[in-house]
């Protein structure tokens, strides 16, 4: 990474200067065909300048000295262009100085592309051999390294290298002439060599995926309507992120989110505590650890809901000023050419004291929902998740699998119906959140029992 400190003398207003490189590897097999085999690198330098309430930003892929100098000037000129027209003068941003270096780069020898392709092919061959009745299968590897270095005019500096590696497996079986599929993701924080030991480590998980798929192929449509459901940990994490988390990002609060009127109010069952962790939870590193954000603020945990009461929002420097709060270290940018936005990091509902089996046993007529394929929510906290895997619960026992469906509700209402929270915590780090830019996020939670609407026929 380029040493940026020497350019700080060019700063004439509040300025962030960032060099960043995103490196990705994708290897994919569809039905035994090696359809994708690619590497890509996107990198460069950007500057963002704040002057009297206006922001200027500029970026270039070039890293030579004159390019960096010109980018600082272009960002400053842009801030001045807007400032000269808006005529709105605002005060300075909060000054925070932080310094940190973090790297999750592997210390092991790096595998070649051929070794990666062979690794994925071995998984694909195993599936083809062991499950010959499948109609189709796909195995994809996706690795992403994000490496950055930032200096700011108020004295912060940091470097980070945050990688993640995931293998996505989809199995498909034909049932009555129609394809039924089920996907599963493996992996997490770290470069490939630290995340995946050998293909056979995944085989027991693939066996479980296949068993779920077979049950799903015999699945039934859920009975549409308002139902008591046990959301497994993975779904609780998405609920925390999509349905509540987004409404408490301070820029969305300013844009009119329903949470703007709810601070200090009871918005959930007292069993619910929801936190956006910066980097460490329960003594473990989170899936997307952030130590200093891209504005140079030391990243702090944000308690969003404490025992059912809405406590706080996630901030960047500017919204912290607006709300007379401290910046929380949530400002992150995806690529070198993106400006930092308020983004969640590792958002989770905290575990409770119930056992998952007791939660299922307590439901007379409902559903146990395990895996989601996607999710959306809006400013009202009304959410929708696509359900990829779930089972009926009848008289306290798991019943038939269900076909793909959708669950929905108003999150601040649904969380008030939470009556049990399990004692197990599960994190996922494969998520990519979309908000002008994509960005990796971690989501976590225990299993949660609540009432919500389920789609069906």
């Amino acid at each position: 990474m380029v040493d940026l400190q020497e350019y700080s003398r060019l700063f004439s207003a509040y300025t962030e200067l960032r060099v960043q490189e995103n490196r990705s590897v994708t290897v994919g097999f569809i039905k035994g065909n090696n359809t994708v085999n690619t590497r890509s690198t996107t990198g460069g330098v950007s500057a963002r300048v704040y002057k009297n309430g206006s922001w200027g930003f500029a970026s270039t892929p070039e890293l030579q000295r004159d390019a960096i100098v010109s980018i600082v000037k272009a960002a400053t000129d842009n801030a001045e262009f807007l400032g000269s027209r808006t005529g709105v003068a605002k005060g300075p941003l909060p000054t925070v100085a932080a310094s940190h270096d973090s790297s999750f780069a592997t210390k092991k020898p790096r595998l070649t592309q051929k070794q990666l392709v062979d690794f994925i092919k071995e998984i694909d061959d195993h599936i083809a051999t062991r499950y010959p009745g499948l109609q189709s299968r796909s195995v994809f590897l996706n690795c992403l390294d994000i490496e950055k270095s930032v200096v700011t005019s108020d004295g912060s500096r940091f470097t980070s290298m945050t990688p993640r590696s995931h293998i996505f497996i989809t199995l498909c079986v034909e049932k009555d002439g129609e394809p039924v599929d089920l996907y599963q993701v493996h992996g997490g924080l770290g470069q490939f060599e630290d995340v995946f030991e050998s293909p056979d480590v995944l085989f027991p998980e693939i066996e479980k995926q296949y068993e779920h798929l077979m049950r799903k192929s015999e699945g039934v449509y859920p009975d549409a309507g308002l139902k008591t459901c046990v959301l497994d940990a993975e779904l609780a994490g998405i609920l925390a992120h999509e349905a509540i988390g987004h409404t408490t990002e301070a820029d969305i609060v300013l844009g009119g989110s329903v949470a703007q009127h709810l601070i200090g109010q009871e918005v959930a069952s007292p069993l619910v505590t929801l936190v956006d962790f910066a980097n460490t939870a329960f003594g473990q590193t989170c899936p997307v650890p952030v130590y200093v954000d891209d504005e140079g603020t030391k990243a702090e945990d944000v308690v969003i809901i404490d025992k059912g009461v809405l406590k706080g929002y996630m901030h960047n420097k500017e919204t912290a000023n607006h709300f007379n709060a401290a910046p929380t270290g949530n400002a992150r940018a995806y690529t070198f050419s993106d400006e930092p936005l308020i983004r969640m990091r590792n958002t989770a509902i905290l575990p409770g004291t119930s056992k998952l089996e007791d939660m299922i046993a307590s439901v007379d007529d409902g559903y146990y929902l395990i895996r989601s394929k996607n999710g959306q929510a809006d400013s009202t906290s009304e959410f929708m998740f696509g359900i990829e895997l779930g089972y009926e619960i009848k008289n306290g026992k798991l019943g038939r699998a269900i076909k793909n469906t959708t669950i929905s509700g108003v999150a601040y209402d649904v969380l008030k119906t939470v009556s049990m929270v399990s004692d197990e915590m599960h994190w996922t780090g494969a998520g990519m959140c979309g908000k002008k830019q994509p960005i990796p996020v971690g989501m976590g939670g225990p299993a949660v029992k609540c009432r919500l609407s389920i789609g069906g026929r």
């Binding site: 690619t38 039924v180 359900i387």
Partner: protein, 435 residues
Amino acid sequence: MWHDVDRDVMTAKRSLDALMRTGADKAYTGLAISERHEMNIEAGEIKLLRTTFNTSLHLSVIKDSKKGHIGLNKSDDASIEKAVADVMDIAAGAQPDEAHDIAEWQEPAEFHKGPTTPDLDAMYDRLKGFVATVSRRYPKINLRQVILSFTRSRAYVMNSNGVDFRTFRGTYHFMAMFSAGEGDKVSSFNASGVSMLDLDRDLIDCGSIDMLLRQSCEQITTRPVEGKFVGDVIVAPDAFGDIWGFLFNAISDGPVISDTSIYKDKVGELITSPELTLHCRPVADEIADGYFVTGDGYAAKNSTIIEKGVLKGLLLSLYGSRKTGRERAVNQGGAIVVEPGNSSLSDLIRSVKKGILLCRLSGGAPNNYGDFSGVAKNSYLIEGGEIKHPLSETMISGNLAEAYKNITGISRERIDYGSAILPWIAFSGLTISGK
């Protein structure tokens, strides 16, 4: 400008030559140089001006039927030299597949569309005018994020069969995301966008923006439908992708190659009601934001995907075509133009006994055979041919492949998004359920 073009062409040619010298059987180079100017409104204020420069270089090689691809955003000699060596290693590690190939020779061509320079003052004035008009016309609106940008690019596609295409483009894009609020009540957010070749019109008059702003103000107070019924759904142009994305995905490479597409053997068959004719028109004058060259190196052509309900072809790439033995598409989809129908939108609404005007669907991805369910957002209940009230907590479910065959009407009115031109389309027989 022409000095830049000469340099770009030299860079692309040098990359291609290096790939062939290093032992590739076939090679492809795609080089794009872009510059983007972007003004942003956040929480109602013009806050941020961005200027971003980028380079995109894609190199693909085929060696002994093994394919490798690398992408980078540098084009200096040292970066190209390293990328050439790396992509040969990537290909060496691949599994061989006879279906990999590159586009055959075509007549070299140059394509131009749109202005070459942004008018920053006009951009600022249009944006400021938009904020003022929204504030005056719709005082309950919160403009959460609004972006007006201008992107210009020079793009070059070359391959070892002699393909040589050069594209020069400039396009304005406008996107607005907003909600409405009154007291402690807020509407769902809504968003739309439009692509343009000039800034001649007020931004509020572009695409569906004004209609959606008005609707958001109506949607501060909502209620669910009562119970569950099978009814009609009129899909607004902004919800087109939510309903028709299933079809476009199912006729593309992945599902056809993996044998999970229900449409893979349906070319020439009726798959929708005969009222529907749908084109992909990336090089049409009526499409401001199309494309001229496909990702696999062919000059794009306009095509008809569905003609009077009949599926005319799949959207297969060169690889998908060779892999499945089916015909390659003459474009890569998008730039959708749906032929207008014979009814006015008000006629479509009048014909609905009980149903929904669906303006946005928040739904899970449909399964492979088209079963879907989702939440009707920013939408309205229709009863007795009249719009009754905006909805919340209302779900729609059904099967998309069946729904396509149950089109009951298409509106004469269409929205021009610059990247697509779409009408309202009415379907019967979908399940609608409230709380």
